[in-house]
């Protein structure tokens, strides 16, 4: 796992409403990571795609733009169905999982 430095929140953890959203997102992350790992083991590309799509749309609004970016890159890779991209999919997936893990553990 390559531990990346978590990017600073784009939300304000001192604002109660922002803190509530950040807390919710961080609480949800471990389950999402599990789903991603399981899907990767089963080579279930549809599930990976769906989750990446959801994280791309949601993570920035919860104050985690870097997770959003990683998810977007993974989604882009999945749209390209060339065999050569499988290695890259794995790399993007690992990057996303690593990033999620770092936030989930860091909290």
């Amino acid at each position: 796992m390559h531990a990346q430095d978590p990017a600073p929140f784009s939300l304000d953890p001192n604002n109660p409403e922002d803190a509530e959203l950040i807390g919710f997102f961080v609480d949800e992350l471990p389950a999402r990571v599990d789903t991603l790992r399981t899907a990767a083991e089963n080579e279930d590309l549809d599930s990976i795609k769906r989750l990446a799509h959801q994280l791309k749309g949601a993570a920035p609004s919860y104050g985690f733009p870097t997770i959003g970016q990683a998810a977007a890159q993974l989604e882009d890779c999945l749209k390209d169905t060339g065999i050569n991209s499988l290695v890259q999919i794995k790399a993007e997936l690992d990057a996303l999982i690593g990033l999620c893990d770092s936030y989930a553990k860091g909290s």
Partner: protein, 334 residues
């Protein structure tokens, strides 16, 4: 799951659920339906829209969203495109195909900002398209605009079918509903009655006590009608001092009982503007206790004929025709 935010207000839709116009209500806190397969989106919007005066309800797939919309007629739907079971476009198509939901404004939410998706959404009848990740201030502004538009359209639609003085359906709406109810009656072979009511010597009230007194009589009689009819009945101000009531699933005999209650109530009423001058009404009923045997215009004509027969026989009475038995009855004032 943020179930605490899902307080559901059941309300009647404008065109199908609402049968007497006086029941229409324009709600202060509009019901907004959010259809998205992502828990993240629900939690985000529930939190970020807390300060808006709306009731937000969550559904997680297109099929469930469609069912909720049909049952609850929300003021606005926010609809995600990328969903399992029934995707956003399919859901939108279904919403626009259904007469109950076709006028509900839909804002499409999407993680893809592809132009083709936007064009497709608008072609299918969406009022707006918002990309994820959301700019929350923009989303709130767009939400408000769509809700305002909806409430103005509802108001206009209501004004177009409601009589301003009485709150009953107006003549245009009567013509439309009479056609619909007639066709339903013919199709199902069920009983139905049509009632025409006219205020006796109405001109002398206007001439003797002024137009406000006349207006008070018209709206007072409308209230008596509203008290007696059921939700499935269609009470209208046909014009001037003339009223009509469509009574689906009602035999002429039962219609007579309802009309007699209205007639007697009217006769007994003491009017503040003219306590010594009672007001009476004449009534013509035409209906069938079995099934429809004549055409729509003849039916209406028979109700009218009965009304004028009641007038000619001395007013303050009801004349009935049952097409099924071809029997004509008469009910006089007690």
């Amino acid at each position: 799951m943020p179930s605490s935010v899902s307080a559901i207000h059941t309300r009647r839709g404008l065109d199908l659920g609402m049968h007497t116009a006086h029941n229409a209500n324009l709600d202060a806190t509009p019901l907004v339906l959010l259809v998205d397969d992502s828990k993240f989106v629900h939690r985000l919007l529930v939190t970020r829209l807390r300060s808006e005066s709306i009731t937000l309800h969550s559904e997680y797939d297109g099929k469930a969203g469609l069912e909720f919309a049909i049952a609850n007629s929300p003021a606005l739907i926010m609809l995600d495109l990328d969903m399992p079971i029934m995707d956003g476009f399919e859901t939108l198509r279904n919403l626009k195909d259904n007469p109950i939901t076709k006028d509900i404004p839909v804002i499409v939410l999407s993680g893809n900002s592809a132009t083709q998706d936007k064009v497709t959404a608008f072609d299918l009848g969406a009022v707006d398209f918002i990309c994820k990740p959301f700019e929350l201030t923009e989303l709130r502004a767009r939400l408000r605009v769509s809700l305002q538009l909806h409430s103005v359209m509802q108001m206009l639609a209501q004004k177009a079918m409601i009589d301003g003085l009485t709150g009953l359906y107006n003549r245009a709406m009567f013509d439309q509903r009479w056609q619909e109810e007639y066709e339903r009656c013919v199709r199902h072979g069920h009983p139905m009655s049509l009632v025409m009511i006219d205020i006796d010597n109405f001109k002398s009230i206007n001439d003797g006590y002024g137009h406000p007194a006349g207006d008070a009589v018209i709206s007072g009689l409308a209230r008596m009608m509203i008290t007696e009819v059921r939700k499935s009945d269609v009470a209208c101000r046909y014009g001037g001092e003339e009223f009509s009531i469509i009574l689906p699933e009602t035999s002429p005999e039962d219609a007579l009982a309802i009309c007699e209650r209205i007639r007697i109530q009217c006769e007994k009423t003491v009017w503040p503007n003219h306590p010594g001058r009672t007001v009476t009404i004449s009534i013509g009923i035409a209906g069938t206790s079995v099934e429809a045997t004549l055409d729509r215009d003849q039916w209406l004509g028979q109700a009218d004929k009965n009304l004028y027969a009641a007038k000619n026989a001395g007013r303050n009475q009801t004349r009935v025709t049952d097409f099924a038995t071809d029997s004509q009855g008469l009910s006089r004032a007690g």
